[in-house]
């Protein structure tokens, strides 16, 4: 007599699982492993099995009987469905458990349901021992990524805004070190400090940095100006004593409540010892709720000065980071960053134009490089130029000087808004880059005709131009001229191809990835660039009008007769690399380091590593096509 009961029950579960994909194809050992560890639970109709609030899922579920509904919750739309019913044999959550992040869906039993579950460790082990299961999960994620890309960004940007957390601790809201003075400070010097630093409130502290009093701008009129207060007297005589403070651990909600209750616009934030650590203003709290695509746009369009645009630029970054954190696809994200940055640039130019007389000049502001391709990440230098015509040739030089003066202001204003000045001086204020259509054509034509290494490098920046502001037709005409010129010159294309093949996908023969000395891969140089360069060549060859890599790949694939699924796979690969770049920058930004496109594949989770490998394979495919086309 032996106790065979567990074996029999495992056998029963095995038989059940085998009726469904992918378990029907699963290796026998792996299936037994799964059935041995699968534990059966019951979920009454209406009960929640898993939700984003539960954090990282601890179990992988397989429905045995009943019906479970996946409901989109959370701010970002990741999938194309809002609800999805799942029945026997279907499993969840694949993406969340693989990536070890909270689920984006809530899973609710809509009928009384019996559901198997296995622990996350067993799930990972199953992925390891079963290639079939691994493939199943990877393909599922890939399809999710795919779906996520097809979403329109406006909806989720809108929803993301509503989620702007008022639960943020005040300690995180403080943007700068507090400005404070001692009680005996002469009022005049305290006020001068306020004016110099453009701050709305001055805090008076004792020797232990504990707040004694506060003076705000609105106090100045009644307390200082009208009573003709002697500015030589100590500041403490005009401050509000015993100012309201909140601990750094209090939330934005608490602060909003406190401000509303006491009708104050500033609150002092103190640490556990009661020492001043910063000032939170009403505006800081509002800015938490300001971050939606539409609202940022509106604030950009309504901005009257560079300060307002600077805060909008900060908002753009903040929203981008939130969206990344919410797991948004790279394409929407970059397009949305691009859309907002475009709006910002336009507004900066509008403001500059108002200060300059450009009467009689027809011009267009051009973006080059990644901005031209709509592929800006969060840390992108300026790359811009101008194209202009004027009705009176005699006045051309004078016009150009006026344009350059305007461009200088725009370049500086862009720099003030967080787009660093270009080290290589690829900027509209550079006289070399403020040209008439004929001059641009001459320049481009020279590069095409004499493609030395510098010319090829230039082509890789300038040929991705796009009109941001001004006369669109100037750009369109230059584009169609360029396409004609490059299309007819296969020697130039060939050299571009040679250049593009310089960089190889970092795939190893033995190991998964070829990494640099520090164990990292440069995702720009050895990743995105491979796609960008190839797409540019295909676009020139087929006369595609687009300046963006994805659009170029799509447009040229149609003309070159490349099957749609093939180009879609390549585009997926590009997006994934872009997403990893953004994510790396995201994390870096949190640590206050510059985004530098480097990632260590060892630090990726298993799934991301696998997809990255596949993305590089797609780049290799793309290069193989270049080789074939130009017989290299």
């Amino acid at each position: 007599m032996t106790n065979t009961a567990p074996d029999q029950l495992v056998g029963a579960s095995t038989d059940f699982l085998r009726r469904f994909s992918p378990f029907d194809r699963m290796e026998a050992d792996a299936l037994t492993f799964l059935a041995q560890r699968a534990v059966l639970g019951f979920h009454a109709r209406g009960s929640e099995i898993l939700s984003p609030e539960m954090g990282q899922p601890r179990h992988f579920h397989i429905i045995q009987r009943g019906k479970v509904q996946a409901r989109q919750s959370g701010p970002a739309t990741v999938t194309e469905y809002t609800t999805l019913n799942m029945g026997p044999g279907e499993c969840f959550p694949i993406g969340a458990i693989t990536a070890q992040r909270p689920s984006t869906n809530a899973y609710v039993a809509v009928e009384d349901s019996f559901v198997f579950q296995i622990g996350v460790d067993d799930f990972m082990e199953l992925m390891r021992i079963s290639p079939v299961f691994h493939l199943f999960c990877t393909q599922y994620i890939a399809s999710l990524l795919n779906q996520s890309r097809q979403q329109l960004q406006t909806t989720f940007a809108q929803r993301a805004s509503d989620q702007q957390t008022m639960t943020t601790p005040l300690g995180e809201l403080i943007k700068q070190a507090p400005v404070s003075v001692g009680p005996e400070t002469v009022t005049r010097s305290a006020l001068e400090k306020m004016a110099e630093l453009r701050i709305g409130c001055m805090v008076v502290v004792d020797e232990q940095q504990r707040p004694l009093g506060v003076l705000t701008q609105s106090d100045l009129l009644p307390r200082v100006v009208l009573p003709a207060f002697d500015l030589g007297r100590p500041i403490v005589e005009v401050t509000t004593p015993a100012p309201r403070t909140l601990p750094a651990t209090a939330t934005a909600y608490d602060a909003a409540l406190e401000m509303a209750t006491h009708g104050v616009r500033h609150l002092l934030v103190v640490d556990a010892e009661g020492r001043l650590c910063g000032v939170v203003s009403e505006r800081d709290l509002f800015s938490l709720q300001r971050l939606s695509l539409r609202q940022i746009r509106a604030s950009i369009e309504g901005a009257g000065d560079i300060e307002a645009l600077q805060s909008a630029a900060t908002d753009i970054r903040q929203l981008a980071l939130n969206l990344i954190a919410q797991g948004i696809g790279a394409e929407q994200l970059t397009r949305f960053i691009s859309a907002l940055n475009d709006a910002l640039t336009r507004r900066i130019i509008d403001l500059a134009i108002a200060r300059h007389d450009l009467h009689g000049v027809d011009y267009a502001w051009l973006a080059f490089g990644s901005e031209g391709r709509h592929e800006q990440t969060l840390s992108t230098d300026q790359d811009n130029g101008l194209i202009y015509t004027c009705s009176d040739p005699a006045a051309q030089d004078a016009h150009k000087l006026r344009l350059l003066a305007m461009a200088r202001e725009v370049n500086n204003d862009l720099a003030a808004c967080g787009f660093p000045l270009c080290k290589g001086n690829v900027m509209a204020s550079n006289p070399e880059l403020c040209l008439t259509p004929q001059q641009w054509q001459n320049r481009f034509g020279k590069w095409i005709g004499e493609p030395d290494p510098q010319a090829l490098l230039n082509a890789s920046i300038y040929f991705d131009f796009r009109v941001i502001h001004g006369r669109q037709s100037l750009g369109d005409q230059l584009r169609s001229w360029l396409n004609r010129a490059a299309r007819g010159n296969s020697a130039f294309q060939r050299l571009m191809a040679v250049n593009a093949l310089d960089a190889q996908p970092p795939l190893g023969r033995l190991r998964d990835f070829v990494v640099e000395a520090d164990g990292c891969i440069d995702l720009k140089k050895s990743g995105a660039r491979l796609f960008v360069d190839a797409a540019r060549i295909f676009a020139l060859r087929t006369g595609a009008e687009a300046s963006g890599t994805v659009q170029r790949l799509r447009q040229s694939a149609v003309k070159m007769g490349v099957p749609e699924e093939e180009s879609a796979a390549i585009i997926d690969g590009f997006h994934f690399i872009q997403l990893l770049r953004l994510r790396a920058q995201h994390l870096d930004t949190e640590h206050d380091a510059p985004g530098d496109n480097r990632i260590n594949p060892e630090h990726l989770n298993e799934l991301d590593r696998r997809i990255l490998k596949e993305a590089f394979r797609q780049a290799r495919k793309l290069q193989a096509r270049l080789r074939l086309d130009y017989q290299l």
Binding site: A5, D15, S47
Partner: protein, 210 residues
């Protein structure tokens, strides 16, 4: 299970099996006032030569534990009484521990088992029994023409099993019914084993089964 087998093998005689009963009696009593997800239940099912508990003989016993509201395949027991009924019954007792025992049809299962325990272990463990025959209608309230037999309940919940009329096969189905019951019963205020026992008692008093 090999430990208990080895322990029991030398003494297949009555005293050895009586020791099994004594060991069981020495276990701490089950806490009947805890929530279902905090309670270990053991579903027990039998296979006999027929359907008459007085005359028919026990052929095999099976048990499946439900712990934390979950069924684990590893937490199950099956033994035929053909070779060594004493060891099979002692093993069942050891597997069950002091957990509330859940059957479908106590009139049959419980009587058969208690008689067998008496014969082979020299005593009957005093434990709490829950009968799904009474509890399922009490919790799911199917109405007067509602199901009474196991097959009918399985159909309602769309429950399948790998082998009907087999001690473990039916236990697997009964265990799934118990899962559903444990999830639903708290809504009726029956959130503990003791409350289920009370519910069953009142159901027995006020209902005459068809």
């Amino acid at each position: 299970m090999s430990t208990w087998l080895n322990r029991l093998r030398p003494g297949r005689d009555q005293p050895g099996q009586r020791a099994a009963l004594q060991r069981w009696q020495a276990l701490p009593a089950a806490e009947l006032g805890r929530a279902h997800f905090d309670t270990r239940y053991v579903v027990i099912n039998t296979e006999a030569t027929g359907l008459d508990p007085e005359r028919d003989r026990l052929l095999a016993v099976a048990a499946i534990a439900i712990d934390g509201g979950l069924i684990r395949a590893q937490e199950s027991y099956y033994a035929s009484l053909a070779d060594d009924p004493g060891a099979a019954l002692a093993g069942l007792l050891e597997f069950a521990g002091k957990a509330p025992l859940v059957v479908f049809g106590a009139g049959f299962n419980r009587r058969l088992l208690e008689r067998a325990w008496q014969t082979h272990l020299g005593g009957v463990p005093e434990t709490i029994w829950l009968d799904l025959f009474w509890l399922l209608p009490a919790v799911f309230r199917p109405g007067l023409d509602g199901p009474t037999r196991l097959a009918q309940w399985m159909k309602i919940f769309d429950i399948e099993t790998f082998q009907r009329h087999h001690a473990l096969g039916d236990a697997w189905a009964i265990a799934q019914l118990l899962l559903a019951l444990l999830a639903r019963a708290p809504r009726l205020g029956a959130g503990t084993a003791r409350a289920l026992a009370d519910l069953e008692r009142s159901r027995r008093q006020f209902t005459t089964p068809a």
